[in-house]
């Protein structure tokens, strides 16, 4: 068994998430690859909480679909997560015995799992540690012994965690873990799938998440200013930067509102430093006016939008990819703002660096569309080799260019050298109002058209950014998949599975979502008769955006699903298989089961 998915749910105080964190931390030491996804109700404290851990001996592409193991400390809490913790016929369900349900009556709505086991977690915690709080360590001992998880490393983690809490508490928790192990050894599960040993780690690995890597990347790229406002699920970017940006000679403003946060970043960029703001959907709506201002004044700015469920307040703690339209069409007026999206936790680093590069090179706001899943899931990733990334600086005027300086001079590339306060001879007026080459305000239609053209034309080189497109599969396949953001890792797993079955298929993953490089899509579409765009938004926003810009294959469909419940690789595999099988009359396939939206 090389791949195991464990889901756990309980009440806030049950320590379920903390158990998940202990597990992934132990697995990272042992050389495993893993993703830990935490999910909470919208309560600040208490309420239901859950986590799912996918561990494998090779790199993990996504949190996976149906659970192999479900740990239920409380049925009410577990059921609240619905499709986030899906139980299927291969799942082993382990639940707290102290409940009204028996294995025959557990509320699983007609699903028949591989095994259902009632375990006296509470009783064992009380007996071994004298405290209900130790319940999560009983769970860990049990999981370790039943499914072959690294006992020594887990125990070491427990020791580290409780070292400061005193001898008695530490000993209690150690006993709780041992009790779990003991119970498992005395009650073996025949159906249990045991995790294979991992190859010992060759070096240090990172246990990190997208928000942390986004902040690290910003500092690597030379970001010297951050302006923002707390918002779920983007706040951690500001928190990480708050600790470190000062050490790099930069500064950070937790502003009075989202607009001021972005505004201060625009000001810092005008003053000559690399600047960033980060937010989620509701804040992104507010930042629109600053994005427009940065576009017309041609000032570099990186704006991260960690997407969550929308519209409006929506579902702050849940994944969704529904801000693509908002990013692409983010402010009024006739201009383009590049939109980038990372496809994995590790990729968040490179994409953030590239966002700064594009912002500085083209003197433009750049939007990074991360999402709750990538931003907040903990993942074991190899160390990031920063030598592979270039860091671009804005073009500044020098020498002759500073005599009779024209800030918005019409150049062949559309990019004009950008001065900043303090630079003698570079004085100019930046204005939201339309301006001529010198920066002087104008209402002249011809100048406006020329300036619009300059501001659009400068992005032409982005049409050739093949490095911002990931592709895999048979180049001349007739079936294609397109996916983006966190869903790309799901599509990629599905692609590899169906290719292993002999299906010829290819996948295109744009990390540059806008402007649309038409030629790259055209080449991908050339061999296709059928193509599916897979994404986590109800309308299928990328599917629609591509159609707006390019000719598409005859059958150009979408597998789109509203947020919160993850798309599972199984769902996509089923769809691809169905697509490749001639349909008998009346056959409805597996599609009837799925909750993908159907769009005409």
């Amino acid at each position: 068994m090389n791949d195991l998915i464990i889901g756990m749910a309980g009440s806030g105080g049950d320590g379920i998430v903390s158990a998940g964190e202990s597990l992934i931390s132990a697995l990272s030491v042992e050389g495993y690859f893993a993703i830990l996804t935490k999910s909470f109700g919208s309560q600040i404290r208490g309420g239901e909480s859950s986590c799912r851990l996918r561990v494998a001996t090779s790199p993990v592409l996504n949190p996976g679909g149906t659970l192999d193991v479900a740990v239920v400390l409380n049925w009410e809490d577990f059921l609240r997560f619905g499709g986030e913790l899906p139980v299927g016929d291969r799942t082993i369900v382990i639940y707290e015995r102290k409940t009204k349900f028996t294995p025959d009556t557990v509320p699983l709505g007609g699903v028949h799992p591989a095994a259902i086991l009632a375990v006296p977690f509470e009783e064992m915690a009380m007996k071994s540690a004298g405290a209900l709080l130790a319940k999560n360590n009983v769970v860990l001992g049990l999981l370790a012994a039943w499914f072959g998880l690294p006992r020594t490393s887990i125990l070491e983690g427990i020791r580290k965690k409780f070292a400061k809490k005193g001898e008695a508490v530490l000993a209690g928790n150690e006993r709780a873990f041992a009790a779990g192990v003991e119970y498992a050894l005395q009650n073996p599960i025949p159906a249990a799938r045991v995790l294979a040993a991992a190859r010992p780690p060759t070096g240090k690995v990172l246990l990190t998440d997208g928000n942390e890597l986004c902040a690290r990347a910003a500092l690597f790229a030379g970001c010297k200013f951050f302006g923002g406002y707390p918002i779920t699920p983007a706040t951690e970017i500001m928190q990480h930067l708050q600790r470190d940006i000062w050490k790099h000679g930069g500064s950070l403003l937790q502003a009075e509102d989202e607009i001021a946060g972005a505004g201060a970043a625009v000001g810092a960029s005008f003053a000559g430093v690399k600047a960033m703001t980060a937010t989620s959907g509701p804040g992104f709506s507010l930042k629109a006016e600053m994005l427009g201002l940065a576009s017309v004044t041609e000032l570099p700015l990186v704006c991260v939008n960690v997407q969550r469920g929308g519209p409006s307040t929506g579902m702050p703690t849940k994944r969704e990819q529904s801000d693509l339209f908002a990013a692409v069409f983010s402010a009024h007026g006739d201009t383009v703002r590049p939109v980038l999206a990372p496809i994995s936790v590790a990729d968040t680093f490179g994409i953030t660096v590239e966002a700064f590069n594009i912002a500085e090179e083209y003197q433009t706001p750049v939007i990074v569309l991360s999402d709750q899943e990538l931003a907040q899931r903990k993942e074991i990733v190899p160390p990031i080799d920063t030598t592979q990334f270039r860091v671009v600086e804005r073009q500044k005027p020098a020498g002759d260019e500073l005599t009779d300086y024209q800030r918005f001079r019409l150049t062949e590339s559309g990019i004009s050298p950008l001065s900043h306060p303090g630079m003698q001879g570079g004085n100019y007026l930046a204005a939201g109002i339309e301006h001529d080459e010198s920066g002087a305000p104008t209402a002249n239609g011809e100048i406006h058209a020329r300036m619009n053209d300059k501001r659009l034309h400068k992005f032409a080189p982005l049409q050739d950014r093949r490095d911002l497109f990931f592709t895999e599969g048979e180049p001349d396949a007739t079936i294609g998949l397109i996916s983006w953001g966190s869903v790309a890792g799901i599509a990629l797993e599905a692609l590899r599975r169906v290719r292993a079955e002999g299906i010829e298929i290819k996948l295109l993953v744009p990390k540059l979502l806008y402007p649309i490089p038409e030629q790259i899509y055209r080449e991908f579409f050339k061999t296709l008769t059928r193509c599916y765009v897979i994404e986590q938004s109800h309308q299928g926003q990328l599917h629609r955006l591509i159609r707006m810009w390019t000719d598409v294959p005859r059958e150009f469909n979408v597998l789109a699903k509203s947020g919160a419940n993850p798309i599972s690789p199984d769902e996509i595999v089923d769809r691809i298989r169905a697509m490749c099988r001639p349909l008998s009359p009346g056959h409805r396939g597996n599609a009837a089961r799925s909750d993908f939206t159907r769009i005409p």
């Binding site: 050490k247 009075e256 946060g261 000001g267 810092a268 600047a275 006016e289 306060p421 303090g422 004085n427």
Partner: protein
């Protein structure tokens, strides 16, 4: 960062008003109070003596917000109500710059009103100039946040139903360290006050009763101002007395006081100096 001795050894010629006047022709109506404001500012900046390229001048939207373009400083005519956040970003990124912000009463006390208290409590070394004319002039005469109750305009045809904002009390209440009010009718007083505001180490606020000749109240034009204005110094006001300043500020809209209402005799550290200090502290190698 700009060091004051960047050109050490070279003694530049003293700056004059002309060095701060740009070639752009103002869009303002003939007789507009803002002409007086920009002229007073040229003089104040010449007296301060920082070269134009070391000055960042930020504004919002409105007639008065066109002002940065009429100077030779680095200007940033931004969007409505957002001059202060953008000015603070500039000051935080480059604390060595002289940063000015300006706008009208709508810009500062209506659409951008939420930014003012936060700029004050952070206390960056920025001077904020509001050209207060009690009317939306650029959009041709609508009621503004400082219009008196009952003011009749195209958007308050039967008279405004609201009490005006009192800009002076507003900033005093939030703890602004330097608060003054001027009129273009008294150019010398206005120039001196702007210079003093810029020299104040911290956030300073100057409210300028800048008459709108096209849509403003006839009772608030230059001629009337000249007869109505009372210098705070003539009233024997002690500008270190904040409570007395607040009492006097209550007469905003009835009396026309000019001069410095309040100057904090013990200015607290500026935001920018705290930032520079923090940067040094956290980057210092641990002993």
């Amino acid at each position: 960062m700009i060091s004051p001795c960047e050109n050490a050894g070279v003694k530049p010629a003293p700056l004059t008003s002309k060095d701060f006047r740009s070639d752009l022709k103002p869009i303002w109506c003939p007789g507009c109070g803002d002409f007086g404001v920009v002229t007073a500012l040229y003089r104040a900046l010449a007296a301060i003596g920082r070269p134009p390229h070391e000055i960042a001048f930020v504004s919002g939207i409105g007639c008065s917000s066109r002002i940065p373009g009429y100077t030779t400083a680095y200007g940033f005519n931004t969007v409505h109500g957002r001059a202060l956040p953008i000015a603070q970003g500039i000051k935080m990124a480059k604390p060595g710059l002289l940063v000015l912000a300006a706008g009208g009463d709508g810009d500062g006390f209506s659409i951008g009103g939420g930014h003012v208290p936060h700029a004050i409590r952070r206390n960056p070394d920025i001077t904020y100039i509001v050209m207060d004319n009690q009317v939306y002039g650029l959009t041709k005469g609508q009621v503004s946040p400082t219009s008196a109750r009952g003011t009749k305009t195209p958007t308050s045809v039967y008279g405004s139903l609201e009490e005006p904002v009192n800009p002076l009390l507003y900033v005093l209440a939030y703890g602004c360290g330097f608060v003054a009010q001027g009129v273009p009718a008294d150019m010398d007083g206005l120039t001196k006050m702007l210079e003093e505001a810029i020299r104040y180490p911290g956030f300073s606020f100057v409210n300028i009763q800048s008459p709108c000749v096209s849509f403003g109240d006839p009772e608030n034009q230059a001629k009337v101002q000249k007869t109505k204005m009372q210098k705070l110094s003539d009233l024997g006001h002690d500008p270190t007395n904040r409570l007395r300043a607040m009492e006097l500020a209550q007469q905003y809209g009835t009396a026309l006081h000019t001069g410095v209402y309040y100057r904090n005799p013990n200015p607290p550290p500026t935001y920018d100096s705290l930032i520079t200090q923090l940067q040094a502290e956290v980057s210092a190698p641990k002993a």
